[in-house]
Amino acid sequence: MSASHARRVPAGPATRRPRLVYVLLIALVVMFVLPLLWALSSSFKHRGDIFTYPPQPLPSPFTLENYTRLLETQPFWGWFATSTIVAVVSTAVSVFVCALAGFAFAKYRFRGKRLLFDVMFSSMAVPFAVIVVPLFVMLIKAGVTNVYFSLIVPWVAPAFGIFMMRQYAEQAVPDSVLEAARIDGASEFGLFTRVVLPLLRPALGALAVWSFLNSYNSFFWPLIVVSDPAQYTLPLGIQSLYAAEARQVDLVLAGSVLAAIPSLIMFILLRKQLLDGLTAGAVKS
């Protein structure tokens, strides 16, 4: 549709402009992609070839040594497993909790709704750094030593997720469908699992990528609660390689490339839902 639009635009400045736009956008693509390509290419270089002047764009000679050495000398798969388990469990629970609450805010009238919503919404403005210290103290005092508990449970109900779900449920779940299911004798919870969840699918996808990435990439909180190197998550493991005496840049690059793969796959598979889901709330309100 936009292509036919463009043809109707008279020649002149209007046709020159898109060309300039392309040049600028492509320059930006280079700026955004170059660092990542550099990291990818350097991960296949020998340690001594990573820093050369002038920089060599492609590895020569090409080597897999960084990868094999990383996997042989470091518990990389352990880090990977911890990160993945934490991210998957957090995602599953938070998508469920947020969808349930978002649905309630979108489709029910109840006393105190406005206030409860405001309380929930304003919790987004509570800075993370503020609760970090007391939360850490609390977990220690309560004797919580399980890393999975500390990494997952405090973060499974993000207010942003509820907000996003409510925005989506308001327009995607017609009242008539709910009424029809009630007449058929569905319980309120059955209504949610059988009628509402399928209708929310695009938003669930968006929230799932969002929480997966948040959890999988998180660095600060794991840094505080995980002290045993055997239980490191990926970001902590990579950081430990870098912080080591010898700055193992070669291993860091190989680890970074491997660690980035799940994020990129999630993002590419669910890109449309994620971007549309993220922007829906902002554009509407």
Partner: protein
């Protein structure tokens, strides 16, 4: 067993209860504990020692804290004045009529936030390297000179942190502006051009006013987000050189976990909480973010 109507009345409370349970346990309680700790002196062992408002008076006389506040304000200012307009301009470009590959561009620009900050920070640390980094190599290639001490010289270190913020967050904000731009009816632009408005004129008289809600959302997100900035300075420079890039969140982390001054860190947290909450509330009041229509 309650009636169907009764169950229907209770259902929403049941549905939102998991959130409020977690909210109470992991947000309200920690804030309460933080408030209490902020009035004590405590290294993590034994009983916290009650010191009243000492931590707060000490905080406002602490050069490091004030540096952290000023640095954080600089980061926020940079985000609002540079990152947000950059995102708007890129969105404007992406919204050009008949543009091909819009989705490809949009996804590529968004990619930095998908990746772990530690990966990005480490790659940029290598770029910023004085001897071997790509940035200085590029400067040498183009200008024959490239001896900038990106991470070692106080003002350049701040610039380096800001450049990383720009690289990481611009594409993320762009998608919000782009979604907002797509929502502006074409007729408004047509009407403006019939009235003889040029591009610049219609940008200021059609685009900006119509984008106000999105801009508000983006501005609040950016202010609240950048006020908490931690990863970029921590991973790039560890707050240095000296304290040139120290942020408030990093200050809290340092006091609590490397200096074991939990009470003092909690007090800094309370101050940060008040500031960020006020920014958020003020912006909400001005723009009405999150309200229905």
């Amino acid at each position: 067993m309650p009636s169907a109507a009764g169950r229907r009345a209770l259902a929403p409370y049941a549905f939102i209860s998991p959130f409020y349970l977690l909210y109470a346990l992991f947000l309200v309680v920690p804030i309460g504990i933080g408030g209490y700790l902020s009035l004590t002196e405590w290294a993590g062992l034994g009983t916290p020692l009650w010191v009243g408002l000492d931590n707060y008076t000490r905080l406002f006389g602490d050069g490091s804290f004030l540096t952290a506040v000023v640095n954080t304000m600089l980061y926020v200012l940079f985000s609002v004045c540079v990152v947000v307009p950059a995102a708007l301009l890129i969105a404007q470009g992406l919204n050009a009529r008949g543009l091909r590959g819009r989705d490809f561009f949009r996804l590529t620009f968004f990619m930095p936030v998908v990746l772990s900050p530690i990966i990005i920070a480490l790659v940029f640390t290598l770029f910023y390297d004085r001897e071997y980094g790509l940035f200085n190599a590029a400067l040498r290639g183009f200008f024959g000179w490239g001896g900038i001490d990106w991470l070692g010289e106080p003002s350049w270190a701040k610039v380096s942190v800001m450049l990383l913020v720009l690289w990481r967050w611009t594409g993320y904000l762009t998608i919000f502006f782009l979604a907002g731009l797509k929502n502006i009816p074409r007729e408004l632009y047509e009407a403006a051009s019939i009235d003889g408005a040029g591009r610049v004129h219609s940008f200021f008289n059609v685009t900006l006013p119509m984008l106000k809600p999105v801009t508000a959302f983006v501005a609040v997100t950016v202010m609240v987000g950048t006020a908490q900035i931690l990863e970029e300075p921590m991973l790039l420079t560890e707050g240095g050189p000296g304290e040139a890039t120290l942020s408030v969140a990093m200050f809290i982390y340092r006091e609590a976990f490397t200096r074991q001054q939990l009470g003092y860190a909690a007090a800094a947290g309370v101050v940060m909480f008040v500031i960020v909450f006020l920014i958020g509330r003020a912006a909400n009041a001005v723009f009405g973010v999150g309200r229905e229509r």
